[in-house]
């Protein structure tokens, strides 16, 4: 690699660092952006665990503890919040002209995307660790052991990045915070129409079971859950990682295309 190319790469890395640092500062300075994504899913976990515990008595329910069963859900909700916050941050940059200011520097578009996702990565890692710690503290057991817990964290962060890439894409495409926010209820519906709260084979309604079967969110949840209640389920893990990775690739590609349209600088 030539000296110039090396210097350029160093420049891009430093740009990513600067922009990711900015995203992290955003998360730290807007407590609502950090506290909500972390507290809300835990509250919902507590409510569901106490309210739906009787479900475990159904014949065929895969575990005796609804807490173990539902522990995967906060990771999904945390990912949604990270996507929402990241997307709204970016949309605000577009709306208030800050993106133009960035576009007028030698910043590369890739650095902008990476920096943006760096903030989501930070929120994702912090919240995933917290969910896991709280879950274990209130009595959840990780069937796959300590190694499984680590894989759980990696998978959770991967899923978080998949949603963050989607949030980034919507922000770049629509250029408005409202548009990003508009997708949030949709994702909640997707989460509720998945196997997040009930095992697929125990869902009685045909239409619900069909949607849950075709809903990619089901497989993300089931991958996370398998580590908690089953142990090492390679099939479930592979499906979960594959869907998250595919979403990352897809939405990253769409994002960089949308960014090119957005950064029309010559």
């Amino acid at each position: 690699m030539s000296a110039a190319a090396l210097a350029a790469r160093g420049g891009v890395l430093s740009q990513v660092g600067l922009l990711a640092g900015r995203s992290v500062v955003h998360a730290m300075r807007a407590p609502a952006q950090l506290v909500f994504p972390i507290v809300f899913p835990l509250v919902l976990l507590a409510v569901n665990t106490s309210g739906l515990d009787a479900a475990t008595k159904l014949p065929g329910f895969p575990t005796a503890s609804y807490l173990d069963f539902a522990l995967a859900v906060p990771f999904m909700q945390g990912a949604l919040f990270a996507a929402l916050n990241g997307g709204q941050d970016l949309a605000r940059d577009i709306e208030n002209g800050f993106l133009d200011r960035l576009a007028l520097t030698p910043m590369s578009g890739g650095a902008l995307l990476a920096g943006q996702l760096g903030g989501a990565l930070f929120t994702g890692v912090v919240s995933a660790i917290l969910y896991l710690l709280v879950g274990v503290a209130i009595g959840a057991g990780i069937a796959a052991g300590v190694g499984g817990a680590l894989v759980l964290l990696v998978l959770a962060v991967t899923i978080c990045m998949a949603f963050a890439c989607f949030g980034t894409f919507v922000a770049l495409r629509a250029g408005s915070g409202e548009a990003v926010q508009g997708f949030f209820p949709l994702f909640f519906v997707l989460l509720f129409l998945s196997s997040a709260f009930f095992p697929r084979d125990l869902i009685e309604q045909d239409w619900f079971r069909t949607i849950a079967t075709y809903n990619p969110v089901s497989y993300m949840v089931e991958g996370l859950r398998s580590l908690v209640i089953t142990g090492w389920d390679t099939g479930a893990l592979a499906a979960s990682f594959a869907i998250a990775a595919a979403a990352i690739v897809l939405f990253l590609a769409l994002s960089s295309r949308a960014l090119r349209t957005r950064l029309v600088r010559t």
Binding site: R22, V25, G97
Partner: protein
Amino acid sequence: MTDDRSIEVVGLVREFKGGVRAVDGIDLHVASGEIYGFLGPNGAGKSTTVKVLTTLLPPSAGRATVAGHDVAGAGAAVRAAIGVALQDVALDPMLTGREHMRLQGGLQGIPRAQRGPRGDELLERVGLIDAADRKSSTYSGGMKRRLDLALALLHGPRVLFLDEPTTGLDVQSRTSLWDEVARLAREEGTTVFLTTQYLEEADVLADRVGIIDRGTIVAEGTPAALKAQVSTPTVEVIPREPDDCAGACDALAPFGTPVAERSAGSVAVRLNTGADQLADIVRALDGADIAVAHLALHEPTLDDVFLAKTGRSLEGAGAGEPHAAAEPDREQATA
């Protein structure tokens, strides 16, 4: 080419969807170190021109070079040479002034060791050093503008674009921004391309003014030359004794055309030639034995120029219809 600070624009067109030509074939030249005022009402095409010249919008037709680089073909080189403060201040509400400088410095490729001192130097210069560690969301409108300007100047640009830099500012902030812009051109040789809808701003600050209306340049020149083109100054006299008005009128008559009185008890004429007749006017009044309470010379304003070229008054013209209240003889109190 590295010391080129000029702007050359030939036949520039920027068309938007639906065939709207926001910029409709403009030509202009801004010399190195010059302050060029781009004056026009809202919607005239000022901001679009700035966006094209700063590489944020590709031109639909025509050619433009900034600091020796083509805006369409060499965007990165143009961006490296220019500083830009767009119409809406572009700040991150969550970052402090100092963090803005560090982020901008890093993205501009300023070596890490120099970022802090260089940022502080500019914050100091725009009077924000005491507020450097406060989030920009707590800044007043004037402070935001000044931070925006400091960010635009961080990498030492050769050409500075300011899009309506004082819109919404109080008089004091406006004056201090003018001082800084004038200093940049004078001491650092920075070329400044400034858009404004304020006559006074163009008049005070700009070496040359281009008046844009509906996407085309309708007049261009130094403020004095433009004003001289359309009209000569007006002299206004208020005699100490109201009874002397008729006498004053007779004394002034040889020097120009009478115009409607500007204030109660005054007599005014638009001079035939320039202000060099003033001494003769004073002598004529003295000769007619008229005691004068007040004597003023009113220069024509750039609004008179705009009016003469477009048939509308600049103030409140917007992008709308010709101004109904624009009488041809309209006088401006602010000379």
